[in-house]
């Protein structure tokens, strides 16, 4: 992110390049079968996967979750992106393990002791499984943000809260614009005063950014008003119209988004729901049987049902894309 910030010089040349990069990224994402699913199916899928990962302490399920997440990332985002992710996920995992060893001294099997500090094998196991869980969840969230784009998210929630849906879209518009302006201001400062260091130029830049944004927000408001945004939907609009209508019933804001909920989507929703209920129920029963301290116990208490549910749910995108690939190959052969 920092890199893109520096790069956002804000000139047209730059934009042209960003467009090309953006379009390549998007087409790769759009070409998948998974992206054709109804947003509700996607949301339920990710909710289920993340829920199952969060509820289980069992290394088998966590390992399965992390492994399948990695496979999915390879499939949808490419090995290069996975490598980028790993570059900071692995250090983070190591830090989690280290801190757990340092501050958690429970456990029976002593590995090493320095003065009052004792490092135990169980603490290492516990730290490792927490790190594994965190890693898996990071990966799934990365995939979530790849697929649950703002328009899909808003499609699901806009009918419930139309104003918030618009606000989200506006914020998403505002953030890159403001970033771009901030870089422009900082660059201008560097040119005007290359030796200036410390907090003062930064606060100056921020205050200037503030004035710029507020100044321009007035124009945005004008633009919205000129396109018929009245700001209060649901109650009556009291403004005057030139054609003589003094008041006019305001209409409720509608939404342009539309996805078809197909029979296939409904089947998937039901299947996912059942898997999630099965998995969570069995996890709630079996997690009581499994623990780390004083010694690791209950590893053999792994619920087959939970493992099955997690495996089926998490490998679903792989199966989906595999099936698609198969069908594609068949259609090519026929032709």
């Amino acid at each position: 992110m920092g890199q893109t910030l520096v790069q956002a010089v804000g000139n047209s040349d730059r934009n042209a390049i960003r467009i090309s990069v953006n379009r390549v990224g998007r087409s790769a994402q759009l070409a998948t079968r998974f992206s054709l699913l109804h947003p509700a199916v996607m949301l339920l899928f990710f909710a289920g996967v993340i829920l199952l990962t969060l509820l289980s302490y069992h290394p088998a399920i966590l390992g399965l979750s992390a492994g399948l997440a990695i496979l999915n990332i390879c499939l949808y985002m490419g090995i290069a992106r996975l490598w980028q992710l790993l570059q900071w996920v692995i250090p983070m995992a190591l830090v989690v393990i280290l801190f757990n060893m340092l501050f958690n001294h429970r456990g029976a099997t002593e590995l090493l002791s320095i003065g009052q500090w004792t490092f135990t094998l169980e603490s290492l196991f516990f730290g490792a499984s927490i790190a594994l869980m965190l890693t898996a969840i990071m990966f799934w969230f990365r995939l979530y943000s790849q697929f649950m784009t703002s328009d899909r998210f808003l499609y699901l929630f806009a009918p419930i809260v139309p104003t918030i849906a618009l606000s989200v879209a506006m914020v998403q518009r505002w953030i890159p614009l403001t970033k771009q302006r901030f870089v422009q201001i900082r660059n201008a400062q560097k040119m005007l005063n290359p030796k200036a260091r410390g907090v003062r130029p930064l606060t100056q830049a921020l205050s200037s950014l503030m004035s710029w944004s507020i100044e321009d927000a007035i124009q945005t408001a004008d633009s919205m008003q000129a396109r018929g945004y009245s700001g209060r939907y649901g109650d009556r609009y009291e403004g005057k119209y030139e054609n003589g209508d003094d008041t006019k019933s305001a209409v409720r804001r509608s939404s342009f988004r539309s996805y078809h909920l197909t029979m296939r989507d409904i089947c998937m929703l039901i299947a996912f729901g059942m898997l999630i209920v099965m998995g969570t129920a069995s996890l709630f029963i079996t997690t009581r049987e499994f623990g780390f301290f004083p010694v690791v116990y209950g590893t053999e208490q792994l619920s087959g049902i939970a493992l099955f549910a997690a495996a089926v749910l998490m490998s679903f995108p792989l199966v989906l894309e595999g099936g698609q690939q198969l069908r594609w190959m068949q259609s090519v052969r026929k032709a």
């Binding site: 790069q7 010089v9 000139n11 047209s12 040349d13 730059r14 934009n15 042209a16 390049i17 960003r18 467009i19 990069v21 953006n22 379009r23 998007r26 759009l30 703002s150 879209a169 506006m170 998403q172 518009r173 890159p176 614009l177 302006r181 422009q184 201001i185 660059n187 201008a188 400062q189 560097k190 040119m191 005007l192 005063n193 030796k195 100056q204 200037s208 004035s211 100044e215 927000a217 124009q219 945005t220 004008d222 633009s223 919205m224 000129a226 396109r227 018929g228 945004y229 009245s230 119209y241 030139e242 054609n243 003589g244 209409v251 409720r252 804001r253 509608s254 342009f256 988004r257 539309s258």
Partner: protein, 599 residues
């Protein structure tokens, strides 16, 4: 039938004594393309806002504004100046749907309208894109499309091309023209650059400043009448398109159809030169009684030469400036390669160049050719991956950002100038006087007009007293007058021995004020030449004057040169009729038609 009409509209802002609009009467016929022209501060924006009911400013208003077709939900579309600020949402699709969502239309209707609208404006391939990834020109076309999607019968535009480079501006105006001719939408467009708009418009409204108003604040003309009016009042002539300027300067106030674009300009030039030659022999005999000197004086009286800019010392030098001369070199680039990221394409590829001291250097080229990147590399904001950037010893360097707003950090112009290191009150006041912004010292920098803001940013940079100045699109959003002021200022700076490197899309500006020009394309400098040779050598990428006079009178890039050439050629012909036929470049073969068709 009138789409919009105003009767004796008078408007005063709160807490102001004098009205900004006084007794304005105007009518805009249905389906017309109306251009509203007025100098900065004449109340153009205020007038436009009165015509859009939802944006009418607060204040005391007398008189009436009538809008036909008021039964529509959104009878009037409105497009403003800044491409960025008008965009409300994050994706192109949502932006187009915004107005329709406000009307509460059904999803199917919205999708249909957005789809047809996007395909009409050529935005389909961008539908899924985030709005912040678009270029300025694309953003402004998106704003136009987003206003048109509600199907308004009237479209009001407030300086829509002011923030765009000339290529993007022309593209935008093409779309605007289509909206007018293909959909029949009534268009009211406020502009201070008439280059491309005058030829499009059926009607021109001239808005005088209320303090200078002759008898009426708004005068209505056809575009031809408007040119005649400008020709009569010398002040406005520099705002006209180049071909029109030349015709005005040559013909005075003859009873002709004024050329408004290059095509009609070429036709006019051929006819004009031919008519001169057919008439001269007869009139020559008439004039023979007069001595030769008197003859020349008579010709001079007939031809009105437009006023030259004051500081033209460098312009005279430019002919003698040789690029490989012994002048010391300020900046040398050797084999520079640059990319923004490890996996991104090279924006600059093995680029080598040198810029001599004490001159103005222009860098021109299309969008995404790497012009701004090149400036970034020279000033050190961007580090090149390969190659060297050498700045001559003891030379300091400063860059003007593309958007002057980025360089303002304080609440008043005075504080802003003082915030520059080593600036004292005396220096600041002197600088302000020099830039003609002394009366603005107490204002907030964001309240300045485009030209004033550009001057302030330039003044700030000059307080550092740099030897090398890098300027990114310094004429963006400026009207002809402000451009002339800025250009003269640049010329003065070059006379003082400073080196200016200007990246610009504005070819007439480059032709007029630079000494050398480079064409940057695909990350390489394709050609570099003295400005005059550069523009006469190009046939597409050159000034309107050059395109207008090519193959008729060769070697002219600015209106002044062409007027001079026409004038000198005529004198030549008058003095020595026998050489007339030899000057084939002047259409001397007696067949003007041949010349006009070869073009």
């Amino acid at each position: 039938m009138d789409a919009v009409s105003a009767q004796s509209l008078t408007f005063t802002y709160p807490q102001e004594d004098a009205p900004i609009l006084s007794d304005v009467n105007l009518t805009i016929p249905v389906g017309s393309f109306t251009l509203l022209f007025g100098r900065t501060g004449s109340g153009k924006t205020t007038l436009l806002r009165h015509l859009v009911p939802s944006l009418a400013p607060h204040g005391t208003r007398l008189g009436d504004v009538m809008i036909a077709d008021g039964s529509d939900l959104a009878p009037i579309g409105f497009v403003q100046q800044d491409p960025d600020n008008q965009i409300v949402t994050d994706t192109v699709f949502h932006e187009l749907a915004f107005a329709l969502e406000n009307q509460g239309l059904s999803t199917t209707t919205i999708r249909r309208r957005v789809a047809e609208n996007a395909s009409y404006f050529g935005l389909e391939y961008l539908l899924e894109s985030s709005t912040h990834t678009l270029s300025g020109g694309q953003k402004q076309i998106l704003n136009l499309a987003a206003a048109m999607v509600a199907d308004p019968s009237i479209l009001v535009l407030d300086e829509p091309t002011a923030e765009l480079d000339p290529i993007a501006a022309q593209n935008f105006l093409r779309h605007l023209r289509r909206v007018n001719t293909e959909l029949g939408t009534t268009i009211l467009c406020c502009e201070h650059r008439l280059d491309d708009t005058l030829a499009l418009s059926d009607q021109v409204l001239l808005l005088h400043d209320v303090r200078e108003a002759v008898h009426q604040q708004v005068q209505t003309f056809t575009s031809q009448e408007f040119v005649t009016y400008c020709a009569d009042s010398k002040k406005l002539a520099i705002f006209l398109p180049e071909p029109t300027q030349i015709a005005v300067a040559c013909s005075g106030h003859g009873d002709i159809t004024w050329p408004l674009d290059v095509r009609s300009g070429r036709r006019w030039l051929s006819v004009y030169l031919a008519s001169r030659q057919t008439i001269t022999p007869c009139s020559l005999q008439d004039l023979n009684a007069l001595g030769n000197n008197q003859l020349i004086a008579a010709c001079e009286a007939e031809i009105v030469i437009p006023e030259r800019s004051e500081g033209s010392c460098v312009r005279q030098q430019s002919a003698s400036l040789n690029i490989s001369s012994s002048k010391s070199v300020a900046v040398i680039l050797r084999d520079v390669c640059f990319q923004y990221g490890k996996h991104e394409p090279f924006v600059l590829k093995h680029l080598s160049a040198q810029f001599e001291q004490g001159a103005i250097h222009g860098i021109v080229g299309g969008n995404a050719s790497g012009k701004s990147t090149l400036l970034g590399v020279i000033c050190g904001l961007l580090k090149s991956q390969l190659g060297q950037v050498c700045i001559a010893k003891d030379l300091s360097l400063a860059a003007l950002p593309q958007d002057p707003k980025a360089s303002f950090v304080c609440d008043t112009v005075r504080d802003d100038l003082l915030s520059v290191n080593s600036a004292t009150i005396e220096i600041v006041q002197q600088m302000a006087r020099q830039f003609n912004i002394a009366h603005l010292l107490a204002r907030h920098p964001f309240d300045l007009s485009g030209g004033e803001a550009q001057k302030l940013a330039l003044a700030k940079i000059l307080l550092l007293d740099p030897d090398i100045l890098l300027l990114d699109e310094p004429t963006k959003g400026l009207d002809a007058q402000a451009k002339q002021e800025i250009g003269d200022m640049f010329t003065d700076l070059a006379c003082q021995g400073k080196t200016l490197i200007i990246v610009t899309h504005d070819l007439p500006f480059a032709a007029r004020y630079t000494q050398s020009c480079s064409l940057l394309a695909n990350g390489e400098i394709i050609t570099r030449d003295q400005t005059q040779d550069f523009f006469t050598g190009n046939s597409f990428y050159t000034t309107p004057t050059s395109r207008m006079s090519r193959k008729i009178v060769d070697g002219c890039t600015t209106p002044e040169q062409l007027i001079d050439a026409v004038y000198e050629g005529m004198l030549h012909d008058l003095k020595d009729p026998s050489t007339r036929c030899a000057r084939s470049g002047m259409g001397g073969d007696g067949n003007p038609r041949k010349n006009s068709t070869t073009g």
